[in-house]
Amino acid sequence: MLFKLAVRNVRRQIGNYLIYFITVSMTVSLLFAVNNIIFSRELSAFSENMELMSEGLTAVTIFISLIVAFVLSYATSFMLRLRKREFGTYLTLGITRRNIVSIFVVETMIICIFALALGMIFGLFIYQGLMAVMMNLLEMEFALSAYSLSGIAFTVVLVICIFIISSLASALYLKKTSINELIHGDRKVERAVKRPAVWFTVTLVFFALFLGSIFACNYFCGIISEGGGAATGFFLTFVVMAVSLVLFHIGLSKSIVYILMKNKRLCVRGGNIFVLRQLSGTLSSSSVMIGFLAFLLLFSVVLSNISFAERALLKTSLERNVPYDIMYSADTGSEYAIPEDQAENIIEKYVKILDKKPYGLYTSGRSDFYGQTRYSGEGYEDTTDVFMPLSEFNLLCESLDCEPLTLDNEFFIIANIPEIQNCNMQDVIFEWNGKEYGYKGLSMQYPMFSYTFFYVVVPDEAVTGMEKVIDCIAYDAENGSFDASALREELSYDYITSDGYQSTACDYRIREYSRQYQNAQSAVLVVGALFVSAIFLLMAMAILALKTLSGLADDKKRYLVLYRLGMGSGEQSRTLFKQTFTFFIMPFAVAVLSSIPTAIITNNIVSTVGMDSLASRIYTIAAVIAAVFVIVYLLYYLATYLIAKRTVIYRNY
């Protein structure tokens, strides 16, 4: 009997449940897709790095599932409110509270089963899509990927947990609400806000603080990208930013209507006062929720921006950090070094060597240049300047399309870390073999040929008499992918550290290896960020939609009054639009607009690190992310508006 009743209810309420249902289905399909990635055989076969990735993603899905459960139970309370009259009537008809709870649980279960089924079907496609993104990030050939049983099972388990948690929350709500409240709940008019002026001050103060935290964030990002330590400052800034964002939204929700109502001329125009009064109740009672949603949305925007920017950054930095396919670099006369011809034989097993360029780094044994940096004096007695002869440097540049240097009794500093740019290298007059060399310039834009903080390029004759400290060889190899992990493994050796521990090292930097490693890392970040942002966005939109729809029963009566008073259906639509759109835009606007400062800050970081070429891509990424957010937002808004319009707007013809 109860089951039948519940089935009938779900069928009758299908319009109200639609948004809830779609959101749950989409969430399930995203969970399904990500879980399948976690257990994907294709990816785990790809490299051992994937293990780390799977663990990371598992943690993310569990965390996300908890958030989803929390949000859905909150959304469920709206669904309950939507039907409190119906439940109230059951109660007066003698159906017990326990019966009602079971009706509700059965209903939610029906929805969840359907959502699970539909979500998994959608998930089949989303998984292939995400895998395509993944494969692309990992530079693998795209092929339809197999589904994993464990992935499916894990999804089912997560969804059941989400269902149980949110049902428990709804059951608690029903248990706590009295019969009277259920039946007459909508008679209670939402109380007016006390001290709107105070809230308005809160709004202004925290908005200023929010803006301030953006600037502070930019400042600390600058310090960090220049290699300085600002972790605490950065963390504090982020906390201030989050708190001020939330409080700004709470304050705004509680005060905006009162500020607007001060304008009497605005109020007497058409249905404006009606809209304002409608909003004052909804906004002030949902102010905390609005603050929370704004935070979720901002988090999603920032996260997706950072993930894509990081990916772009990694790609560009690889070209810089490992400019040649394989780069050998070891202390001259190292006892562990693998002999050159032996190493080349190993390399040839994996990839054909096309060209090799040996070069070296020399030291003067002095610290004329290091003396200008903070790496001098006590504790840095062993740190001496490093030089590279001009001819070798230009030879390395030649095949990389870098501008060669010309020096005329001058030296040129190649910096590998940003802070060297701030040292007074131009004051140095380098004297060697009785000749003086003056400052020509300093650049961070050259690829890394050496892994010292910086080195000095000097005319060839200047290195005579210097001690060669580092032997280097740059290899050009044939293009194409190869098993870089295995090659690196073969080129590694065990050694005993100065404190007596055994360790493994490799004197060869293999570009392919770095690339694969970075790809795995950024694939996790990008897919994880996409996943988290998508879920947060869905949750936020679903809450806004459901909250709006839960008030429709009451709104219907109000719009009937407006209709009788002579408000035509066109003006009713406009009124409804103002009412619902303002509510929807509240948590959304600042969060999405924040993609502008996010892009600017990311861009600043990128250019500090010396990769100005990325700038336009970062802005494109930010614009695309913002566009996706706006589209999802508009879809949800449109669905809500159309449902609301159908329910609320009165017309007789």
Binding site: E190, C267, V561, M567, G568
Partner: protein, 262 residues
């Protein structure tokens, strides 16, 4: 003649196919400017339907309705909305006032819809709120008012635009008899002092006895008609009771059965 409302052969069917209810059956009557007319009848006799077609919330199936010289059949939906806004005032049994708006905002809402400016709105608000004695309640919300006060506020809202016709559907339906009588005094005042033309639906003979003229509906037709003329209200009440028992209406003798209560 100075007719505000003229109804000719109005018929209204509900439903379609095999189950059709004839809620109004070829009704004709007219209402003069400045009159106070009551429509009475048992529950289901078609009173609300009649009021709904007059108030343009429902369309007629056949016949014509003319209000203030305009034929409703000729108007499209937007014109009908504008017509309701400019020519009609409404008072219903309940949920008259918007619960989210203050009394003042409720009363001035029709002027807002007409895009009347701030100063004139304030002037009109002062006029009607003083006339109806709700001046002290303007800043309150409807839930802070008693049922009688709420209906008076609804009256103020109904007449603030100086409508050609004020329509009231069971305005005392949610009130006790003391408040019902007070509200009828208010209606009389609106009718006599403010010149409002009122058409009111009720099933309560006591309430009906305040009107100048009573139309009796039965099964969607006008069954009988009473004019007060020079008679006392008590006498009117007795006449209404007589017609009602002849009508055989079940609800009609409702709460006014005791002659002393009148």
């Amino acid at each position: 003649m100075n007719e505000i409302l003229d109804i000719r052969n109005v018929t209204k069917y509900y439903g379609s196919g095999s189950v059709v209810t004839k809620a109004l059956d070829s009704i004709s009557f007219s209402v003069e400017k400045g009159s106070f007319t009551a429509i009475m009848g048992a529950s289901g006799s078609g009173k609300s339907t009649l009021l709904n077609v007059i108030s343009t919330i429902d369309r007629v199936s056949a016949g014509e309705i003319m209000i203030n010289g305009m034929f409703l059949n000729d108007l499209n939906e937007d014109e009908l909305s504008a017509f309701r806004r400019d020519q009609l005032g409404f008072i219903f049994q309940e949920y008259n006032l918007l619960d989210t708006l203050t009394v003042e905002e409720n009363i001035t809402l029709p002027l807002n819809l007409k895009r009347v400016g701030l100063t004139e709105t304030q002037r009109e608000l002062k006029r009607v709120s003083e006339a109806l004695g709700v001046g002290d309640q303007l800043k309150k919300f409807p839930y802070e008012l008693s049922g009688g006060q709420r209906q008076r506020a609804a009256c103020a809202r109904a007449i603030i635009t100086n409508p050609a016709l004020v329509l009231a559907d069971e305005p005392t339906g949610a009130l006790d008899s003391k408040n019902s009588k007070a509200l009828m005094q208010t209606f009389i005042m609106m009718n006599r002092s403010l010149g409002s033309t009122i058409l009111m639906v009720t099933h309560d003979p006591v309430v009906g006895s305040y009107a100048d003229r009573v139309l009796f509906l039965k099964d969607g037709r006008i069954w009988s008609e009473l004019y007060r003329g020079e008679r006392e209200r008590r006498e009117m009440y007795r006449e209404i009771m007589t017609v009602s028992s002849a009508l055989g209406g079940d609800n009609l003798a409702g709460n006014g059965g005791d002659g002393d209560a009148v």
